[in-house]
């Protein structure tokens, strides 16, 4: 079985991104930047109704707008649209301004229909149905183990809670979209995607083309987070417009569109009951939950399901469990996989109730986790993290922090599968000593391109800058989509394989015993006229799956304004053999920051009366910013014997839970809904104030 070199100089060091200079100079061309000869601007007309029967779409006036070269409807004939923002038609023209004018004069005849956009409303039988033949609320999936009712009777401590999490939007900074050229020769798409192969298949399937007729290129792309595996309706529309206009067409969504139609993380409403025996061991667990994935689960589910379900009781093992989960349809855009699908949602409910249990039992939350977490790695991480964080000194009785600005601490753990396979790659070694590695993967910003250079350089005794890495093109040997934190574990072994074979072949052909490093140029020269090309593929034994991680959060909460400031995050993350520390650390930072957004800021808000998304922009849908950054203390646990493992997803999972627990610790009362906005903090404090005089009336509650 192959294995990574024992002695490593580049692997595990800090290597600058090889595409860094291209990205800081503007030389990197994203799918939204490419300008094939004669390209046209394209835009989409969307439904202004949350639900309607569309009977006619007249494009005639749009086609007469100066500069407009083509206009198409999203579908032929009568149809029902089911959410505000569903695609109706699209136009392509020589300028954006021409397209704006054309969209304004498209005539749509439609009969508005009753709709429902809020989960609490939608699950009522009396509400309008999203799909006429199905109730909005799905029949709950039931998962039962042991005798739950009896087990709760055996518990010394039982706690109950109700927790909610919002619909979170992906908001990659490069919006969804493609530049597409469809001619008689075939279709070329420059796609902002995390899966060039799935986009190729999507175009081929949608447009009745052969896979061989479609080429998808994504040399650079501006973020996806799970929402960019398909060509999208916008891709198919761009293709059809290109076909009609006989010119390449670029359709990139607007930021407004991005909030409506291209995926989100489902919401959750979680009723949880948890019990422990007198020795502090978890004994009984019950969860009843629902949430919405919009009009239905999205198709793009690589890396996790697109529905509203989630794992429970998450990372813990409880002998007696009853889990009932359902999804509720609303008239809103579909969910798609979103960085660690299900996990942050699950973690928030479970880690919240764990802290409630710890408080009621009067034990330290870290101690409760050490007693109940089945993972040995994570238990060690808790110990290491608690020490670095200063948990023992910082953890105080909930609500005991003096003054109007209260401090608090919290912790939480996470798990993720990952793993990889299936990737192929080829290497071309030229007589002049230059080398090119080709692989049909894509770099989402994770540093995949650099990772390939690091591995190749390590195995060939070269420097990463000497390796030309070609990725993001379906003409290269296939790799999978970049989802589920599988890219690193899929790509690394294939690069190992192709480089090992290429080196052997080079040495055999040239008779040089060791062609690496100092001998490289001389060996390549001996190849003569023809370059050497070698293929390789993923091999067992160089990667594995399963990454844990724990995080600790320290917060300050202003009890007068309700404002929460995250002061510090300590993150202990295991991830097998770290290939590039520099980019791995960036991934960890990024996961934590996205978790802070989930904890404190992000929530799609629907208007129940009009059915529209009320915050389809960055003024009202808040993302974390530089000034919100806490102090970071990040530790990567090196486990080289496990091979390469992806860590992009596990690092975002426990952040919001740890922050929420820290807020509860600061206030002495729990904000049981994400995001923890100032309003919710003040509401929670108000409840607390009321609960003092109401204490006498407690039995009625």
């Amino acid at each position: 079985m192959p294995s990574w070199p024992e002695k490593r100089t580049l692997i595990g060091s800090r290597v600058k991104r090889i595409d860094g200079p291209a990205k800081v100079t503007g030389a990197a061309k994203y799918p939204s930047d490419v300008q094939p000869e004669g390209w046209l601007y394209g835009m989409i007309l969307r439904s202004k109704w949350p639900k309607a029967r569309v009977t006619k779409i007249d494009l005639e006036k749009a086609l007469k707008v100066p500069g407009i070269k083509a206009a198409v409807t999203a579908r032929d004939g009568e149809r029902t649209v089911r959410y505000y923002g569903e695609e109706l038609a699209a136009v392509a023209g020589t300028t954006k301004q021409a397209c704006l004018d054309a969209l304004r004069v498209i005539e749509v005849e439609a009969k508005p229909l009753p709709f429902v956009v809020r989960e609490e409303d939608a699950k009522e039988e009396s509400s309008p149905r999203v799909w006429d033949d199905t109730p909005n609320l799905s029949k709950p999936g039931l998962n039962e183990k042991g005798d739950v009712d009896k087990a709760f009777g055996e518990c010394a401590t039982v706690v109950e809670g109700f927790y909610t999490t919002p619909v979170q939007l992906h908001h990659p900074l490069e919006t969804h979209g493609n530049t597409v050229s469809w001619t008689d020769e075939g279709l070329t798409a420059w796609s902002s995607t995390q899966g060039i192969s799935s986009v190729r298949d999507g175009f081929a399937g949608n447009l009745k083309l052969q896979h061989s007729q479609v080429r998808v290129i994504s040399e650079y792309m501006g973020g996806g987070f799970g929402s960019k595996f398909g060509q999208g309706v916008e891709g198919s529309l761009a293709a059809r417009l290109s076909h009609d206009a006989k010119a390449p067409v670029r359709i990139m969504l607007t930021r407004f569109d991005e909030a409506l139609a291209v995926g989100n993380r489902p919401s959750s409403f979680q009723k949880i009951k948890l019990g422990a025996t007198a020795d502090g061991k978890l004994h009984a667990f019950e969860l009843e939950s629902y949430g919405t994935a919009g009009i239905g689960a999205g198709g793009s589910s690589e890396g996790g399901g697109g529905g509203a379900g989630f794992p429970a009781p998450y990372i813990y093992r409880v002998p007696n469990t009853r889990v009932r989960q359902s999804s509720v349809n609303v008239n809103a855009g579909s969910a798609r996989a979103f960085r660690a699908p299900g996990h942050p949602t699950s973690s928030y409910g479970m880690e919240s109730i764990m802290d409630e249990l710890a408080v009621k039992m009067g034990v330290d939350p870290v101690e409760l986790r050490l007693k109940n977490d089945p993972s040995e790695v994570r238990r060690k991480e808790y110990q290491l993290g608690a020490e670095r964080f200063g948990w023992k000194e910082k953890y105080k009785k909930p609500g005991s922090s003096p003054g109007p600005i209260k401090t608090g601490v919290g912790c939480a753990g996470a798990t993720w599968g990952g793993g990889g396979g299936g990737t192929q790659a080829e290497a071309q070694i030229n007589p002049d000593g230059s080398i090119e590695i080709r692989c049909g993967t894509q770099d989402l910003g994770t540093g995949c391109r650099t990772l390939i250079a690091v591995i190749a350089a390590e195995l060939l005794g070269l420097q990463p800058e000497q390796i030309t890495v070609r990725i993001g093109d379906t003409q290269f040997p296939p790799s999978g989509g970049s989802g589920g934190s599988t890219t690193t574990a899929s790509v690394s072994p294939a690069i190992y394989d192709v480089c090992t074979k290429a080196l052997q072949e080079l040495q055999t052909q040239t008779g040089i015993a060791d062609a690496r490093g100092a001998n490289w140029t001389a060996a390549c020269k001996k190849l003569g006229v023809n370059p050497l090309t070698v293929s390789g593929r993923w091999q067992q034994g160089l990667s594995s799956s399963g990454a844990g991680g724990v995080q600790f959060a320290e917060v300050e909460v202003d009890t007068e304004t309700g404002f929460v400031k995250v002061k510090k995050i300590t993150c202990i993350q295991d991830g097998g053999l770290i290939v590039n520390k520099l980019t791995a650390e960036s991934q960890v930072n990024g996961g934590i920051i996205m978790g802070i957004g989930y904890a404190l800021y992000e929530e799609r808000i629907m208007d129940r009366l009009s059915g529209v998304v009320l915050n389809p922009n960055f003024e009202t849908y808040k993302l974390p910013a530089l000034a919100d950054m806490p102090e970071f203390d990040v530790v990567l646990l090196d486990m080289p014997e496990r091979g390469v493992i992806g860590i992009g997803e596990p690092v975002t999972i426990p952040t919001a839970s740890a922050v929420a627990n820290a807020v509860a610790n600061a206030l002495g009362v729990r904000v049981s809904s994400l995001p923890i906005t100032p309003q919710r903090v003040l509401d929670a404090l108000g409840k607390k104030a009321e609960s003092v005089p109401a204490a006498a009336a407690k039995p009625q509650a």
Binding site: G12, K16, D19, G20, P21, K23, V24, T25, G26, A27, K29, Y30, S32, Q35, T95, K96, Q97, P172, L173, E174, Y220, M221, G222, G223, M252, R255, V377, K380, Q383, L384, G445, T446, G447, K581, T583, E585, S586, Q587, V588, N589, G590, I592, I593, M594, N617, F618, E619, L623, A625, L626, A627, M629, F632, D633, V634, V635, L636, L637, D638, M639
Partner: protein
């Protein structure tokens, strides 16, 4: 300085108009409103822009860029769609994210929120104009070294904001970096590294706090 000076090609700048007519209109009696309107009509009659395209000349990265655009075209659109300067990115198109940041006479501005015709007569610097003879600027170099970029889509905007800051204030504090970057958003989460890069470009020696610990050596 140039605020009250009519721009190249524009008969009257917005501020000049307000100075001339706005304040007087505010105190004008009803009878005078008509007169003001007539003055305005006269001023505009001298040169009406649009609705069709107009020729404009932008000074971008020290070179003239001649374009034919409608007056409603933004500077960002002029750069990205009417020429091939795609370094500045369109992310929100409404002055919230900073990905389109360019320098206008060394001041960082949102190019999505400035009309191209208004940008005439100013020195515009885009991210393409920072590297000299293939050598990255200090700020660009620091961004690469500190890994202050991931997908890279927000990066040109951050690079321009930090460049603008350092032009004005070569030795900023961390607080001043936060202030300068408060109009830039990143979704991948590069902020801690952007801070490090900005400080490094300003000559402060910063090191990463991240540690790698061998699991095998844990108790």
């Amino acid at each position: 300085m140039s605020d009250s000076t009519p721009k190249d090609g524009l008969a009257v700048s917005r501020r000049a108009f307000l100075k001339t007519f706005g304040t007087s209109a505010a105190v004008a009696a009803t009878a005078q409103v008509e007169a003001v309107a007539q003055e305005l009509a006269k001023a505009n009659a001298e040169k009406v822009y649009g609705p069709g395209t107009v020729p404009i000349t932008l000074n971008v990265n020290g070179k003239p860029l001649k374009l034919e655009v409608e007056p409603r075209v933004t500077l960002l659109e002029a750069l990205r769609n009417h020429s091939n300067l795609t370094g500045a990115k369109e992310v929100c198109d409404r002055a919230t994210c900073g990905a389109c940041t360019v320098l206008l006479d060394d001041m960082p501005i949102y190019s999505c929120s400035k009309l191209a015709i208004e940008a005439q007569g100013h020195a515009i610097t885009t991210v393409e104009g920072l590297a000299q003879n293939g050598k990255l600027s200090n700020v660009q170099q620091a961004f690469v070294e500190k890994d202050a970029l991931m997908c890279g889509y927000c990066t040109p905007g951050f690079v321009m904001s930090v460049t603008g800051l350092l032009k004005k204030n070569p030795h900023p504090t961390a607080e001043q970096v936060k202030q300068a970057c408060s109009g830039n958003l990143c979704r991948c989460g590069t902020y801690p590294r952007v801070m490090q890069a900005a400080l490094q470009a300003a000559g402060v020696n910063v090191s990463s706090t991240t540690e790698v610990i061998s699991y095998a050596k844990l108790a």
